[in-house]
């Protein structure tokens, strides 16, 4: 079993956040482009989700939230990798955890809406949600890993 260092975890978070940003960015782009995409059947249909009222708020695509969130997570992971351990009142790891929790909360909410209200799942949205859950899992372990690393130093 490979034990990941803090740097490994941060690099993983940065990579996943970059993919998340690309994913969400593509969803934003597609929202403005009138075409169908990532449709498998009636249930797994990005088009059906996009055509619902939940796909935008005040004319701004909902995926913008994901784009901004993943960009923030990416920036925080890069800052932590470069050695920034404190941003304002909190540690960088804590900021990462807070944003990962926020992202997961939004993801849970939108996934529930997709399943129970729209009755369709957008696979690209689900991928973004999945990425955020993995980031949350990694961010959750960072403070503890940091403590044990400090103890071993």
């Amino acid at each position: 079993m490979v034990r990941l260092s803090i740097g490994d975890r941060l690099m993983l978070i940065a990579s996943l956040a970059a993919f998340g940003a690309v994913d969400a960015g593509y969803l934003v782009y597609e929202w403005y482009t009138p075409s169908t995409w990532c449709d498998v059947n009636d249930v797994f249909s990005c088009t059906k989700v996009r055509e619902s009222i939940w796909s935008s708020v005040a004319g701004i695509p909902t995926a913008t939230v994901g784009l901004v969130g993943f960009a923030v997570l990416l920036a925080l992971a890069v800052l932590a990798l470069r050695g920034t351990d404190q941003i304002g009142p909190w540690t960088t790891f804590r900021w990462l955890l807070v944003f990962a929790i926020l992202g997961a909360a939004v993801g849970v909410g939108l996934t529930l809406v997709e399943v129970f209200v729209i009755h369709a799942v957008c696979l690209l949205c689900a991928l973004g949600f999945g990425l955020d859950l993995v980031i949350l899992g990694l961010a959750w372990t960072l403070p503890r890993a940091d403590q044990s690393a400090s103890r071993s130093e």
């Binding site: 490979v2 975890r9 996943l16």
Partner: protein, 233 residues
């Protein structure tokens, strides 16, 4: 964060910036800059700077990162390329169907052999369908209906409120649409692999699919006109 008051102006200043602050902000003061920070304080500041360390990525971790990136990239590409999409492709024979128009007439596709068909799958609540019904389809209809093309729209009832013949009739009246509309009561949309609206098929006289337009036509009228010209030739 270690902070100390400036002996000249009294403002709180970070320990590591104190000497620079006094030198730059109070160049005429007679304070001994070197004595502003004690040895212990200097050690504390330097210790903190040393503690600000770059996080190292291990070779094993890098391999895991690369593997993860590869997996996520494959998933992303699979979703976008979508090899699991069902339905029919260009050159396929259009699946037969029998549907009833909102006017009460039965339409059987196989009975229309010998006619070029413009077959639109739409939803009265789909904003892109409404947009096309207003700015593209009337021109296409005007230009090609007289050349023998039969226009048919199938409402797939994907989004919004439940579609009924009455709602479709209301939609037709609102946007002055003259051609036949039918509510998909069976699995027509599924047979054609329609998962989003509008999706439009152009069928030649033999019932072969010569064009599929998913979503709004990129080039509007030109997209449909080119396909219909090909089907008519």
């Amino acid at each position: 964060m270690a902070v100390k008051k400036c002996p000249v102006c009294g403002s709180p200043v970070k320990l590591e910036n104190l000497q620079r602050h006094v030198r730059n902000q109070h160049p005429r003061s007679d304070v001994d800059v070197e004595s502003l920070v004690t040895k212990e304080e200097r050690r504390e500041v330097e210790g903190k700077a040393a503690g600000r360390r770059r996080q190292r990525v291990t070779p094993a971790g890098l391999r895991i990162v690369v593997a993860t990136i590869a997996i996520v990239a494959v998933v992303l590409i699979l979703i976008l390329v979508n090899p699991f999409r069902g339905g029919i492709g260009l050159g396929s024979a259009a699946p037969d169907f029998t549907l009833t128009t909102t006017g009460g007439n039965q339409v059987r596709l196989s009975n229309l052999q010998g006619t070029v068909i413009f077959l639109e799958f739409m939803d009265v609540d789909c904003e892109y369908c409404i947009a096309e019904a207003q700015d593209v389809l009337p021109q296409v209809y005007t230009a090609y209906q007289s050349r023998g093309v039969r226009f048919l729209s199938v409402d797939v009832n994907f989004v919004g409120a439940a579609d009924t013949d009455a709602r479709i009739e209301q939609y037709k009246t609102q946007y002055s649409i003259p051609w036949d509309h039918m509510l998909d009561t069976g699995r027509t949309a599924s047979a054609y692999g329609v998962t989003g609206t509008p999706t439009t098929f152009v069928l030649d006289r033999s019932g072969i699919v010569v064009e599929i337009v998913r979503g709004r036509a990129q080039n509007g009228y030109t997209t449909y006109a080119t396909a219909l010209d090909r089907a008519l030739s």
